[in-house]
């Protein structure tokens, strides 16, 4: 029996699955308990697990991640929510300087099995300070694993994998996906980090996408089909570990690559994919490696502007046609 649920409800279901399974899992953040989260993605957890395991914090991002880090090194498996991924900047010392380096600097004496959940990306007209897609920030830091699911099933399965992982994971939930729906099977769901999923097979080019860009890439591939272009679509699912094997094998078959990224242009994750494919697939290529991204601008608030500048289905289709010229 499968069930259709929202991406939003999948968050609560994934957390509940792990809170039920492992008493060392604790969940903290701003407005996450009594209010059920500002995006209502953690509704019902306080009622089931009580205030010791599902705990509201003050608006103190450093205190939140510090608590998670100190608890993780001493026997708990904390999940900490940072309400908007933009707020990672207020606790960037913990995210980039403390958490990822501690195992290394102590030569393995300290383990940090923790998850930072955060609502990432644009599409909700929140303006430039509540809409950033910052998965590439986290990707650039050695010692952080980076996950960004595109559908409800992956939210549950990858969140479970992140919580069970012995290393720190930044888990980006794309906030425009919260109301989207997908089928999930009954029972426990656990996926593996570092395994991309090929959503659609194709012969002429490979489209690599992440999170909110995945449904757009699939829609673009369907439109390309009507134009006689066969596109393979890969949902990366995790940026670290990065499933290079799936991407490289695909591009060797299709000989063309487009990445679709929500992050602004410079140093987006697609640049890394393009660089790897350039090095490892060069002699198999029949077209320019191409990136579709948000332009290198802060994301504007007005719907007319936001819709224009986030990568759209039509921009992906146009890019594919150019690559195949």
């Amino acid at each position: 029996m499968a069930e259709v649920i929202t991406y939003r409800d999948a968050v609560a279901r994934g957390l509940a699955q792990e809170l039920r399974r492992d008493p060392t899992v604790h969940f903290i953040g701003e407005d996450v308990a009594a209010a059920g989260g500002v995006f209502k993605a953690t509704k019902g957890l306080l009622e089931e697990f009580g205030p010791e395991r599902v705990r509201d914090t003050p608006i103190s991002e450093e205190a939140i991640l510090g608590a998670a880090m100190g608890a993780a090194m001493t026997g708990l498996r904390p999940v900490a929510e940072i309400m908007f991924s933009d707020f990672l900047a207020t606790c960037w010392d913990l995210v980039a300087v403390e958490i990822p380096k501690t195992r290394y600097m102590t030569d393995g004496q300290i383990s940090l099995p923790l998850v930072i959940r955060t609502a990432n990306g644009g599409g909700l007209r929140f303006g430039a300070q509540h809409s950033q897609a910052v998965e590439n920030w986290a990707m650039s830091i050695p010692g952080l694993k980076v996950v960004a699911p595109s559908n409800p099933r992956d939210v549950i399965g990858l969140l479970a994998a992140a919580i069970r992982d012995p290393d720190p994971v930044v888990f980006f939930e794309q906030k425009s996906l919260y109301p989207t729906k997908g089928e999930v099977p009954d029972g426990e769901i656990v996926e593996e980090l570092g395994v991309a999923s090929t959503l659609r097979s194709g012969r002429d080019l490979t489209i690599v996408a992440l999170a909110s860009m995945v449904p757009r890439a699939v829609a673009a591939a369907e439109e390309l089909d009507t134009l006689g272009i066969s596109a393979e679509v890969i949902d990366l699912r995790t940026l670290v570990p990065l499933d290079v094997t799936t991407v490289v094998e695909s591009v060797k078959r299709t000989s063309r690559l487009i990445t679709v990224e929500e992050n602004p242009r410079l140093c987006g994750w697609g640049a890394e994919i393009v660089s790897i494919v350039g090095e490892e697939c060069f002699w198999h290529l029949d077209g320019p490696l191409t990136r579709v991204t948000t332009p290198h601008i802060p994301l504007p608030s007005a719907d007319a502007l936001e819709d224009e500048f986030l990568p759209s289905v039509s921009r992906i289709v146009e890019a594919a046609q150019k690559v195949l010229l």
């Binding site: 003050p58 001493t74 026997g75 913990l94 195992r103 030569d107 570092g194 395994v195 570990p241 094997t245």
Partner: protein, 339 residues
């Protein structure tokens, strides 16, 4: 830990005298170690930077004496003293300073990141303020696990003006965490006097009331006083009484780091504080209290011998293998980011 054999006393030592000898042993060991670290730096064997606790030994010693073996220490880049005070072997600490494979972190941490989890030394943190929230986390975990452990977090006066200090104190109080925050107020941040840039006279203690905490100031150069205040605060935390914030007044004998001669400090101020040297004054107190000089000399000789031995071990140890740079990024022991 020192394995000093105390010469047979002519009468049985009281518990207090025994503790005072332990405190003296700690301040002397830290003093000798720091003097050696400075010398090795000048010889080019300790590289990078190093921040010494010369003049501030009594705080690490007093707390180290009051802590239970499974309590947690969180300290700063000025953390040689706190790491040693938990019983971390000198060889491993010296090895880390010299960048050797024998260091407590295999040479990947350095002077500013000394860690020995098996001794409760949960890391030395080199970004101001970072470890106060982290100490909260360890205390939270102890509270959840019902382990009775206490986290003790040392930091400098400069930390009292950064946001993490305030975030951490508030959360510690709200969650009633078993954590003790210890501000080592040595009057200077790096080069600037804390009083010149702070709205209140006592940078930690005057902020305590903002978080519903008692204002506690202690003479940080007096090992007995530090021990007493530490024991009280740790007991309060362990018994569910919540956090404490302690301001220990002290002075560093040198500059902020190896690169700083500390010339910005008035001569008379330096002279005044040197007269309150915690090692010298504590020695005199013990002698005045009737402790035999031979007991103290034995402790001093042993500390020097331990430092000499640790130095030799560290100097003889090889540097880390190049391959070590690729280890322990991840829990699987490796550094691979791709699949």
């Amino acid at each position: 830990m020192s394995t000093t054999q105390i010469p047979e006393p002519t009468r049985e030592l009281s518990a207090q005298e025994q503790r005072q000898l332990d405190l003296y042993r700690q301040v002397v060991r830290i003093r000798r170690f720091e003097e050696r670290a400075y010398r090795l730096f000048m010889e080019g064997l300790v590289k990078g930077t190093s921040h010494l606790s010369l003049g501030m030994e009594a705080i690490a010693a007093g707390f180290g004496e009051a802590m239970r073996a499974d309590d947690y220490t969180f300290c700063t880049y000025r953390g040689h003293a706190h790491t040693l005070a938990r019983g971390t072997p000198m060889e491993g600490v010296m090895g880390e300073l010299l960048g050797r494979a024998s260091g407590v972190c295999g040479g990947k941490g350095g002077s500013m990141h000394l860690t020995s989890v098996e001794h409760g030394a949960m890391g030395s943190y080199a970004i101001i303020g970072a470890h106060l929230p982290i100490a909260n986390g360890a205390a939270w975990s102890a509270q959840v696990r019902g382990s009775g452990q206490v986290a003790v977090c040392f930091f400098g006066d400069g930390t009292t003006n950064i946001g993490a200090f305030h975030e951490a104190l508030n959360l510690a109080k709200v969650w009633n965490l078993p954590v003790v925050f210890v501000c080592e107020n040595n009057l200077y941040m790096e080069y600037t006097a804390i009083g010149d840039v702070t709205a209140v006279e006592h940078p930690a203690a005057d902020r305590a009331s903002a978080y519903g905490l008692e204002s506690i100031i202690v003479d940080g150069n007096d090992p007995d006083a530090v021990y007493e205040v530490a024991a009280t605060a740790i007991e309060r935390a362990r018994s569910g009484g919540g956090p404490s914030l302690i301001e220990a007044k002290t002075y560093r004998h040198g500059g902020h780091s190896r690169a700083d001669p500390g010339t910005y400090r008035p001569d008379d101020e330096v002279a005044r504080w040197l007269a309150r040297d915690p090692v010298v004054t504590y020695r005199q107190r013990l002698l005045d209290g009737g402790v035999q000089p031979a007991l103290l000399e034995e402790i001093e000789d042993r500390a020097q011998a331990d430092v000499d031995a640790a130095t030799e071990v560290a100097r003889a140890a090889p540097p880390p293998q190049l391959q070590a740079a690729y280890t322990n990024v991840w829990a699987d022991g490796g550094s691979s980011w791709r699949k």
